[in-house]
């Protein structure tokens, strides 16, 4: 089977404006969660979130910013970094370049802003860029245009599994022979009144407003929901021969991936993690590795009461009790459609550097937690293979298995 490797990484997150600063903060165990000081947030039940450290306006030119939704802006920034990191040049055959880039919610902030303009000033004042800014394939399209991708530009939309799925689909795209190079990832930027109120009404979010840095606490007995974050991650995937022919640096191999669906509930996770477990099993089978060689799982672990423990059951059943888990959402918050990409980057860096970033705020582990977690401090472990999981509303499950190059 065609081997797919990772040759470029890019990100902008609540921990840093690029991969190096984000990774440094992850290993150091720093929280990116803080109070929302904006006026619109003051009447909401949840007034905390993990906001970007580097504003897109510090990176992109003004006119470019005007025509892109915030999710598109950060998709572009992360992809530009990944492209540069991969050392790809303009003479790449763009008919062999694909993009698979998703967003969980899309341009919701643009939709709301333009609706205000419609109500207050009338239809003629609505921006002609409204539709390309709010369409859920916007981030993929913007990335595709930036690099002139002509092999196909695709936009999976599977809530919080979106960018783990994007990496899986992009891997499949290269394996199917439809491209040599693919930019895969996800972006989300919906920290605004309506999305926050909607998640809060579901009782899905932490209301620990007075202690933002301690609010996201996967597997802790006092966890009370996820913390919304914004950010984007991008990976350059490449057919191994193509990468080697141009002398590219290889971070990791995408040895296997799995995508399944629960058929269970629109928002509740299957408490036994059957679907998530099958995704892990599929990734291991496709990779052809011994499951005892999978030493680490960067878990979906959003800090919700049911989801965190369900995943532990799935990991234990499908991989075993030798795994070291971590939940980096304890630091980044939940990046929704950007989560799988940023967490896959963390998984790759863990494999590459031999360091598993910590799960912070794990002070009183859930009594049912019977797996080893890199709690509160980074863990040095020499890894052969590691998995990133992503699960989304709608019952979407994805698992991506990385090995050393």
């Amino acid at each position: 089977m065609t081997e797919v490797v990772v040759t470029g990484l890019g990100a902008t997150t609540p921990l840093g404006g690029d991969v190096a600063s984000t990774w440094e903060a992850l290993v150091a165990g720093r929280s990116g969660v803080g109070p929302l000081e904006q006026e619109w947030a003051q009447e909401l039940p949840v007034r905390i979130a993990a906001q970007l450290v580097v504003e897109p306006s510090e990176v992109l030119p003004r006119v470019r910013l005007r025509r892109l939704d915030r999710s598109e802006q950060i998709a572009l920034i992360a992809s530009q970094q990944a492209w540069e990191d991969a050392g790809l040049s303009d003479d790449l055959d763009t008919e062999r370049l694909g993009v698979v880039f998703g967003s969980g919610i899309g341009g919701a902030l643009t939709l709301l802003e333009q609706d205000d303009i419609l109500e207050e000033k009338g239809a003629r004042r609505v921006s002609p860029f409204t539709v390309p800014m709010l369409m859920p394939n916007g981030p993929a399209a913007v990335v595709g245009l930036e690099f002139g991708a002509r092999a196909g530009v695709h936009a999976p939309t599977s809530a919080c599994a979106t960018s783990a799925e994007a990496i899986s689909w992009a891997t499949d795209m290269i394996r199917a022979g439809r491209s040599d190079v693919a930019i895969a990832g996800g972006a989300e930027a919906v920290i605004g009144g309506l999305p926050m109120a909607g998640f809060a009404s579901m009782k899905a979010m932490s209301t620990r407003n007075d202690e933002p840095e301690r609010a996201s606490r996967p597997w802790d007995t006092d966890r009370d929901g996820f913390v919304m974050g914004e950010g984007a991650g991008a990976l350059v995937l490449e057919r191994r021969e193509h990468a080697e022919a141009r002398g590219a640096t290889i971070y990791a191999v995408i040895a296997g991936s799995g995508m399944t669906s629960d058929g269970f509930d629109i928002v509740q996770p299957d408490p036994e993690c059957h679907g998530g477990g099958r995704a892990m099993r599929a990734a291991i089978r496709q990779a052809g590795v011994d499951k005892r060689d999978v030493g680490h799982v960067n878990a979906h672990a959003t800090s919700t009461p049911v989801g965190d423990m369900a995943e532990v059951k799935g990991v234990k059943r499908e991989i075993g009790d030798h795994v070291v888990l971590t939940g980096t959402k304890s630091m980044t918050g939940h990046l929704l459609g950007g989560a799988g990409a940023v967490e896959s980057i963390a998984t790759i860096m863990a494999l590459h550097d031999g360091v598993i970033p910590p799960t912070i705020n794990l002070e009183n582990p859930d009594p049912e937690l019977d797996l080893d977690v890199a709690a509160n401090e980074a863990r040095k472990v020499d890894l052969v293979a590691a998995i990133n999981t992503g699960f989304g509303f709608g019952g979407h499950n994805a698992a991506v298995l990385f090995t050393k190059p």
Partner: protein
């Protein structure tokens, strides 16, 4: 008091810079919006709406097609 052509051109130049990133030094009566200043059809919609607001004029959609260059727009706004 009616604005002079120079004042209208200057105001238009500010709009073009704001919404489409056009360098004010490039703005002259004989410059085509699409061919010289790279203002595409969507950006032109924004320019027209901003010009209507700034100069208090109405520029109907079927008139926009006739505004090929900066001079055409200045003349239209001058007539009010």
């Amino acid at each position: 008091m009616a604005l002079s052509r120079d004042e209208i051109r200057e105001g238009l130049s500010d709009i073009l810079e704001e919404v489409a990133g056009v360098n004010p030094d490039d703005v002259a009566d004989d410059k085509s919006f699409t061919d010289d200043l790279d203002v595409d059809s969507l950006a032109m919609v924004e320019v027209v709406v901003a010009a209507e607001e700034k100069f208090g004029v109405k520029i109907p959609d079927d008139e926009v097609a006739n505004l090929k260059n900066v001079g055409d727009a200045v003349s239209y706004i001058e007539k009010g």
